[in-house]
């Protein structure tokens, strides 16, 4: 340990071993090769089969679109873990229970990250010692209860049919419901994957590390190692589904008050679009679907979809994930039915 410490401030060539130098040269060469390959192939006229080409385009667009949000989420997560003093968080957030989760679900107002970036951020909160229930509540609520999402929803729907209000209130209630159910679990750590639970346990039992750039780099690496394989895999799955299952099979169901809700929930799950702009997409469905179905789409999509499932499987056991998904789905269905009854 002491020798490691003494090495830290001196990234001078003398302390880099031959192996490390080789690794750096390999890394730099790989980046250079990747740039050259991309530059050469960017204008090639390849005639791939259209289904394959579309699948690649769709999956790549999910990655290209989500990646900056993941970087943003990881950066904020690192900043919260390293540079926000505990007393600030303690002063702002109530101590326990329902009130604490209610305040946490509004944290998205100051940390406007959509769902992809929210996964590393919620993991960062767990590392800071927030309970599983607190982190889940934040994870589910923040992509809906943040200014960008609410403004785009307002631009798309205004105050029509109570869609904006139902989305806000419904998102808040469902997130807090899931959080409350998780808080009832006698051993919430058992909801987490063993690897992640171990990381959280060791992070909370040890002293807070000094905030160095090196520490930030290690945290970034650990987080991309967990998130990016999941994001890339989830994007691939989303691309394959989009090619294999025609969107029209779902949108063709149309205005039925119950089936329409289920169809749009299914669509939200498979299409995996960003919560910041999904209102515009929902608007294009407004002529064929009931307001309740649109609300269910707008509440379920930001909380869970096929890409989020893969990303969250880095953190939660599959059984816990299935339970959370089920509660969200039932909540969204109930909300949709309620809106259809009232509007």
């Amino acid at each position: 340990m002491p020798e490691t410490r003494s090495r830290q401030p001196l990234p001078a060539p003398a302390v880099i071993g031959a192996g490390a130098r080789r690794a750096l040269v390999v890394a730099a060469s790989l980046v250079a090769i990747a740039v050259v390959v991309r530059w050469v192939t960017i204008d090639v006229d390849a005639s791939l089969p259209s289904a394959l080409s579309d699948g690649i385009t769709l999956a790549a667009s999910v990655v290209i679109e989500s990646l900056p949000f993941v970087f943003l989420g990881i950066s904020i997560s690192i900043a919260v873990q390293l540079w926000v003093p505990s007393r600030v968080l303690d002063a702002v957030i109530p101590r326990s229970g329902v009130l604490r989760r209610a305040v946490l679900s509004l944290l998205g107002v100051v940390l406007p990250v959509c769902e992809c970036g929210n996964v590393p951020l919620a993991r960062g909160l767990m590392m800071r010692g927030f309970s599983v229930a607190d982190s889940v509540t934040f994870l589910l609520a923040a992509p809906i209860l943040n200014p960008v999402t609410l403004i785009t929803t307002y631009q798309a729907f205004g105050w029509n049919d109570g869609i904006l209000v139902s989305r806000m209130v419904g998102g808040f209630v469902i997130a807090n419901l899931v959080g409350w159910l998780v808080s009832l679990h006698p051993e919430p750590e058992r909801l987490l994957t063993p690897q992640w639970a171990a990381v959280c346990a060791s992070a909370s039992s040890s002293q807070r590390p000094p905030a160095t750039l090196q520490r930030a780099a290690v945290m970034f690496r650990d987080e991309v190692s967990a998130m990016l394989p999941a994001l890339f895999l989830g994007a691939g799955v989303a691309g394959v589904i989009q090619v294999a299952v025609s969107r029209d099979t779902l949108t063709g169901i149309g205005g039925h008050p119950v089936l329409g809700i289920l169809a749009l929930m299914m669509l939200a799950f498979v299409i995996a679009i960003c919560s910041n702009v999904d209102a515009f997409f929902a608007l294009s469905l407004a002529s064929t679907f009931s307001p309740g179905a649109l609300v269910a789409f707008l509440v379920l999509g930001p909380m869970i979809d096929v890409k989020m499932m893969v990303m969250l499987s880095t953190t939660f056991r599959l059984r816990a994930l299935a339970g959370i998904t089920l509660v969200i789905a039932l909540g969204a269905l109930t909300l949709g039915l309620g809106v259809n009854l009232l509007v």
């Binding site: 490691t4 090495r7 990234p11 690794a23 750096l24 890394a27 790989l30 990747a34 740039v35 390959v37 991309r38 530059w39 192939t41 960017i42 090639v44 579309d54 690649i56 385009t57 769709l58 999956a59 790549a60 667009s61 990655v63 290209i64 679109e65 990646l67 900056p68 970087f71 990881i74 631009q155 171990a198 990381v199 060791s202 590390p209 090196q214 520490r215 930030a216 780099a217 290690v218 690496r221 650990d222 991309v224 190692s225 967990a226 394989p229 890339f232 691939g236 090619v243 025609s246 949108t251 995996a272 679009i273 910041n276 702009v277 999904d278 515009f280 997409f281 608007l283 294009s284 002529s287």
Partner: protein
């Protein structure tokens, strides 16, 4: 996962994503995947990501372990693999890296295909772009989305008398010979692309055109068997525009 493989795999995927983003941005092709309004955001955050990526590669290459806070995360590469799925997980990770590299670095970026457009319903509502008014606007500046939403609102040829349309899009020729001119619109990324299409009088088209060919049409609207169709006066084959998606 607590081994060197998963660390490097995460960094390699990060590198693939960053290189793809930067080269697409340099070539002006990012709009093939995302709405132009996100281009600046994407590039700025990718620069931040690239800085952290470089630091993470440096730290991973030059240091054997994390030191602080991650007591159970030391390298295990000198120990026998603990988990049964170890080989499987390495194979999965390797496959993911290779496929991601092929998809993001080797496959040429392209638009969604016309074949896909033939399979899906076209939208009749402009979504985030409201239907333009025919009064006080220059109709030759209307896009395929504008015309599709005007027709979708029930406008007939009689309503559109004297309206000159000038549109650029790709041809969609159905099995039964019905022809439309279409264009995708994107609100966030290509995953949410929606097709807008305007029916075209097929008889006036050159016969050598195929589905997917980009054309510039100008003409007026006419009633064709009870449906409103664009009756082109000129049909020019054109290159795919730099901004193939309406935004």
């Amino acid at each position: 996962m607590s081994d060197a493989v998963s660390r490097w795999a995460g960094l390699v995927l990060c590198g693939i994503g960053l290189v793809a983003t930067f080269v697409l941005a340099a070539a002006g092709d990012l709009a093939l995947y995302i709405h132009p309004r996100y281009v600046v955001f994407t590039v700025v955050l990718s620069v931040v990501g690239a800085g952290l990526f470089a630091a993470a590669v440096w730290v991973t290459a030059t240091r054997r372990d994390d030191g602080h806070g991650h007591g159970d995360e030391h390298d295990h590469e000198h120990h026998a693999p603990r988990r049964r799925g170890y080989t499987l997980s390495i194979a999965t990770t390797g496959a993911l890296v290779i496929v991601s590299g092929l998809a993001l670095l080797v496959a040429p970026p392209t638009t969604l295909s016309a074949e896909r457009a033939l399979l899906i319903e076209s939208a009749v509502d402009g979504g985030d772009v409201s239907r333009p008014s025919l009064i006080g606007n220059d109709p030759t500046r209307f896009s395929i989305r504008d015309w599709a939403s005007i027709l979708g609102s029930g406008a007939t040829a009689a309503d559109l008398v004297g309206q000159q349309a000038e549109v650029t899009g790709f041809l969609l020729i159905d099995d039964d010979g019905a022809v439309r001119v279409g264009r995708y619109a994107v609100t966030c990324c290509t995953v949410d692309a929606q097709l807008f299409a305007v029916p075209v009088v097929a008889a006036d088209l050159p016969t050598d055109l195929r589905s997917g060919d980009w054309v510039h049409l100008s003409g007026t609207f006419t009633d064709d068997d009870g449906a409103t169709h664009l009756d082109p006066v000129t049909v020019d084959a054109v290159e795919e525009p730099d901004d193939p998606y309406l935004s």
